[in-house]
Subunit: 478 residues, 2 copies
């Protein structure tokens, strides 16, 4: 496997294939989510879905094919998505009268349905989420992060007024933060996207942004306040309590299988994956050690501990294959399993097992009678430690002292000499699109978001030096 | 709502829309699964997925778009599916070099991947399932039962030999029977499809078949032994223990959102839906009764019972809207909620509530202190009763005394006079395709399956009178 320091993207591609998470599909830009990769997605789904339902949302399913005319109804939306749409033009040899797009997102078809379902304030709010496959035919693809077909959830809600819709937008952003930080152990900045980075057709777009180990950013989730733009495009009107016919205010919000890629790029190292306990398909791997002729007693003891852990709700596996313990240690480290238990005849004699943690590499001996509680505590500790470690890395690679384009260029030039990309830079921004574009053109750093709670507030624009309206994260991004 | 006896399909379409399960989509033959309908699917998914995983299967996700050339690799397969395929021919204005089909099923693309993943007997068995949307552009569509796009699961497994693959085929058929009978309370016949009704490309197809209330059949799940046909088409070979290069033996098996439609057509009545407790999104609806000025005390008591039920794991809701109790009773009966609890000031004075069941219409008074246990028991009883009732209906409409085409025609003619379709008929079959076709042409009855365990064995072919090789269910079918 290529070391991270040598070539990060090569390391990433090596790791996800070696850990058996995916394979390339026979269609350009598409991948197969293999069971080890798909199970990560299933656990992300569970964590998200639970919170969606707790906040009153229900799932539904809308058709994947969207008539071409639907895209014309919201001008910015069609401009944003048209260059990436695959089209169904024929069925069983017959040409269709109207082309059908494979959905890139479902605001249009859902807007069309909502216009029929919503008549009165009594019908509001409508709080619906969809788990689905979507298509965006992009030029450059990276497994999990950017593929022609990917899996996601898209929430679509309709409200009687702006205030409620804006509350919803923020609530869902907070749910995203919670799942991504607390389950995936990825620290994020909540904030607002600049107008040029907004979702096509949104009034305001908010995001959570995460730093990968190469210093690049991933937009890990977005939540949009759409105002009445789609309501006007699709005539979604309701009779309010005051007997006035009004347009609804809508939101949409989404997270996708790119969370899998983010998790890998935040926690992985030269040994391979490192998966946080709360998301890991396997939390504990048990491996027998010591001479093969004493294996029988070891396996009996292992089984005891295995079932005790299983009964306590720990996702545990044993590896009884013929390979050497050393080979197995490497194998399960590469797969990112958070805890390894080693057990041999000498351990049994001492009524203990050796417990090794993936995140720090530490090994400790644990009394067998106390093994379940110790492992449970350790899994919690690892979860917390992985988030803290990722946050420390992020903060160490976030630069807040840069105040001009010259300083930014010098920072990047120096970083490149050191073989890095320069991490993230917090800069002031006057609010002018031209300054944003100039930074992008001259440095390849783009605005990530305007964090709600920046580490410091900036006074002057990093580009023009005028008064800053906003403090913004700049970086390279996936 | 149209009564069932007047026009069953009109009743069905009225019911599913009134109960808010679906809506028609703006694309031909597609529907929207609204939250009330989608939640039924989510519960079917949970019941299935749990059993798939318990038997060692894992989920994965394969690309939806399948290159045209893939369909050519298994001759029968392409002939079977070609007439129903939608094609992507262009992306963002550019014509593709090779057309891409929207998957109707995934044997081809999965076969292609398996040929790369499987090299040795150590790689076997491969036990993978996929939850996905699929497309079959059929001429006549019925919501849930037959739509252009639908949701399903498709299992695809590869094995070292025929015996193992055949065991898998039977195991999955039995899992389908278990979920459909025990969760959806739909009695089914397990059996083998005749060659003309086989899945395109299968060696043997097995099914579970269910009778709807109009006497028509629904194929509720299928499990296929594919032999080495796809292995040969896609070159899926492995080095066996004996050092010989061999083709794997594959299976596939699927159930879909048509189970939702089946559940409705098996249990529904002129009041609307009737949903078995194990699948019902809401199991208990609580409705306050009595004079509005005494409502406050009633609601407090209701809350107490509500939380006690919720804590016990019962899916319970209260209806505190302003409508009359009578209106609400009808509304929740129409939605098929299995148990209704009525509670008023007089009930509280007597420390009891009234419990009404949807399946029989019976009402009993239950001591409040015993309400939770009584409701839990009642839900179990309703589950069992609904299966028994459906089985009694099925058996009353299954005819085993018919031994010739003339008798079959007379039976159908008499049924038509009575305004029914004639239910199912058990007939002998010589095994000749011509006899099967003749029955179909002259009566519209098709072979459902050759039940493993028929109520009686037939000696002579219902068509030609020669010796029967098989005993077969014949009926009209969805």
């Amino acid at each position: 496997m290529t070391p991270q320091s040598e070539n990060f993207s090569r390391w990433y591609l090596d790791t996800i294939r070696k850990a058996d998470l995916m394979d390339y599909a026979p269609v350009r830009g598409c991948i197969v989510f293999k069971p080890e990769g798909y199970e990560l997605w299933e656990r992300i789904q569970q964590a998200m879905d639970k919170r969606f339902k707790e906040t009153g949302h229900r799932n539904a399913y809308f058709p994947m094919l969207i008539p071409e005319s639907f895209f014309q109804k919201e001008k910015e939306h069609v401009e944003g998505f048209n260059p990436e749409l695959p089209w169904v033009t024929e069925v069983a040899g017959e040409k269709l009268e109207e082309r059908l797009a494979l959905r890139p997102t479902s605001e249009t078809v859902i807007g069309h349905m909502y216009s029929q379902w919503i008549n009165s304030y009594r019908d509001l709010p409508v709080l619906i989420n969809q788990w689905a496959n979507v298509f965006r035919w992009e030029k450059r693809t990276t497994p999990f992060l950017r593929t022609s077909e990917f899996l996601w959830q898209e929430g679509h809600t309709a409200h009687a007024n702006e205030e409620e819709a804006r509350q919803e937008t923020m609530q869902m952003l907070e749910i995203y933060r919670e799942v991504v930080e607390e389950v995936l152990a990825i620290p994020v900045w909540k904030g607002q996207k600049t107008p040029s980075e907004r979702f096509a057709g949104a009034v305001d777009t908010y995001s959570i942004e995460a730093m990968m180990k190469d210093g690049k950013a991933v937009q890990a989730g977005t939540s949009h306040y759409l105002g009445d733009k789609f309501a006007k495009g699709f005539e979604i009107k309701f009779l309010d309590r005051d007997n006035q016919l009004k347009y609804v205010h809508t939101t949409s919000w989404g997270t996708s299988t790119r969370l899998i890629g983010s998790m890998i790029m935040v926690h992985g190292d030269d040994k391979g994956l490192a998966v946080p306990p709360r998301i890991s398909p396997t939390q504990v791997i048990m491996i027998p050690v010591g001479p093969p002729n004493k294996r029988q007693a070891v396996i009996e003891k292992m089984d005891e501990i295995f079932f005790a852990l299983k009964d306590a709700g720990v996702r545990v596996k044993t590896d009884l294959r013929e390979e050497t313990p050393g080979w197995k240690f490497n194998e399960w480290e590469m797969r990112g399993v958070p805890v390894r238990i080693e057990i041999g005849p000498r351990d049994i004699a001492n009524n203990q097992v050796v417990v090794a943690r993936r995140d720090t590499g530490e090994k400790v001996s644990v009394d067998i009678d106390n093994a379940v509680a110790a492992v449970q505590q350790l899994l919690e500790d690892i979860q917390v430690n992985m988030l803290n470690k990722a946050r420390a890395f992020r903060d160490a690679n976030s630069h807040t002292h840069i105040n001009s384009l010259e300083e930014l260029k010098a920072h990047i030039a120096k970083a490149e000499q050191d073989g890095t990309l320069g991490g993230w830079v917090l800069g002031g921004w006057c609010g002018n699109d031209d300054c944003e574009s100039k930074v992008k053109e001259e440095t390849s750093f783009t605005t990530r978001n305007i964090p709600f709670d920046p580490p410091v507030e900036k006074d002057t624009c990093i580009c023009c030096g005028q008064k800053a309206e906003h403090t913004v994260w700049f970086s390279r991004a996936y």
